[in-house]
Symmetry: C2
Subunit: 314 residues, 2 copies
């Protein structure tokens, strides 16, 4: 593997520096030595956390460096313009380092809107793509993964935006799997061509023209984990609801039957927890930017960092 | 219980007359004798099915009668206008009988669009309500139910439509539970007031004014099964995706861990199957109309018919 440096937002996510320090350490132990980390966050806090978990880490070494910056905090409005001015925030610092070619990729479990707008305006969009989208690869019954996008970056989408998500999803699926002709579907409330919103019907017409036989047509919610379709396109509002509903139902089922389950079943259940799906790349940017679930555990974040590095390196 | 007659669309649902006959028979055995059934469908077929499962049913008795009518079939366009002309379809016949006061309620597991438009145009809307909505009561971690609406009748909704769904959901929740001041939330991609679509933000402002302290604010998908909110409002596109995703994830989990589960856990798992949530009333109509899941089993349809009768009688 060529040398690869990733910027990690150490204040992103509900667990903050404490959880992220453990996740970075764990990921670094599993990844090749050629992968190095720039940790964006409060320097003193990061050093204090690492001193608790690993005494012999040398910062400002080849492998680990710190870029002193601040947490975003909770109540900030106008996040879509923060990238202009708030260059001292850890989440924006990651993207700034990437813009200046100091790192190859950015990773954050922080606020989606801040990460998305910073990445969009500082790195720029791919040519011909009107909107970048957050994508997630989910497990399915058929053992194949299904990529769902957008999962929360664009609450309102035109037919053209949805069409572009199809293009981005198709390319991403080919990149992360060996499938040369992934099947692309659009989420709708029924299979019939007259059903749904104007946006999905018009997007379907564009996709049919673009993808030909690769276009599957409309997909309903009850087919999401079927594995029949490789890429499912929807607006960010609905995609976000789908992903988070899955999380909610998983916890509900887990809570209600956990004490009845043998250890093997408990272990198997964990694959359905959406926080273990890994990280979500923002597709359609000139650069690799990854968003992880804010409520992730150390293990989930460690896996997400590894996935991000692997996915950026394919 | 006062005399109560319900019209059942015997061709609605994937199992057709065979499954619905068994469901009606099972429900009739559990319901009071004062509840009677008008079975809308092909008379010969219905009689043939019932002769297989219960030799001593007398049709055109006080309790069971048949209203000869046809199945809808699959590929019919212009469903929103079918109610004008296709009066021989079983699904529309139910609503026509209700319009003529021959029955007190209609029940169908058939096409949502056909049932919705027939009910809307033949029975009419409640005063002050611009759009009727399909609602479903879902189980939650807290043992309380949460009502989600709309789950598929209105793919595109204005802020005012969403606001009206809040009014309908609040009234329905008070009707089916003892809760006098249910909490109303709106589905969004975040809790912050600046997040989401224009429609949800404007609807939130209207609901805050209308419901005061009963208004919970925005709810995210990962809170759906929490039981913190009693009524969750969303457009029919997203509600449909949420309900069907839950169904898909349930089947996925069940399939993957079923062989590891003790019988008690398998039984407990069934409560999470959305086909066991019961029937979905269309709220906002001048009359009781119920939609059941097309893919329901005999047991699920039987439970749904019982729920429909109970809910119409409260």
């Amino acid at each position: 593997m060529q040398k690869f440096r990733i910027a990690v937002d150490m204040h992103g996510g509900d667990g903050g520096v404490c959880v992220l320090s453990k996740a970075v350490l764990s990921a670094s132990q599993k990844l090749d030595e050629s992968v190095s980390f720039t940790l964006c966050g409060a320097e003193a806090e990061i050093k204090a956390e690492f001193s608790k978990i690993c005494a012999d880490i040398v910062f400002n070494s080849e492998r680990f460096s710190i870029c002193d910056s601040k947490p975003q905090g909770n109540a900030i409005n106008n996040i879509s313009r923060l990238w202009r001015t708030a260059h001292d925030l850890s989440i924006i610092k990651c993207v700034l380092l990437q813009k200046d070619k100091k790192v190859c990729a950015s990773f954050s479990a922080g606020d989606t809107g801040t990460l998305y707008s910073s990445a969009l305006f500082l790195l720029g969009r791919e040519a011909g793509i009107e909107r970048a989208a957050l994508a997630i690869a989910m497990p399915t019954i058929s053992e194949k993964q299904t990529v769902l996008l957008d999962i929360g970056a664009n609450a309102e989408c035109s037919p053209r935006h949805l069409f572009h998500f199809g293009i981005l999803g198709e390319k991403y699926y080919r990149k992360i799997t060996k499938e040369s002709k992934p099947k692309i579907g659009i989420l709708n409330i029924g299979r019939e061509t007259y059903k749904g919103t104007v946006a999905v019907r018009e997007a379907a017409a564009m996709m049919k023209k673009e993808f030909g036989e690769q276009f599957f047509g409309f997909v309903e919610g009850n087919e999401i984990f079927d594995g029949k379709v490789d890429v499912i396109v929807c607006d960010g509002f609905c995609g976000n609801a789908i992903l988070k509903t899955s999380e909610s139902l998983y916890h509900f089922i887990q809570m209600k039957i956990q004490n009845l389950l043998p250890p093997e079943a408990i272990k198997k259940m964990q694959q359905f927890n959406s926080s273990s799906y890994g990280c979500a790349p923002i597709l359609g940017l000139k650069g690799n930017v990854f968003k992880a679930h804010g409520n992730s555990s150390v293990e989930a974040l460690s896996r997400a960092i590894i996935k991000a590095v692997e996915s950026a390196n394919i």
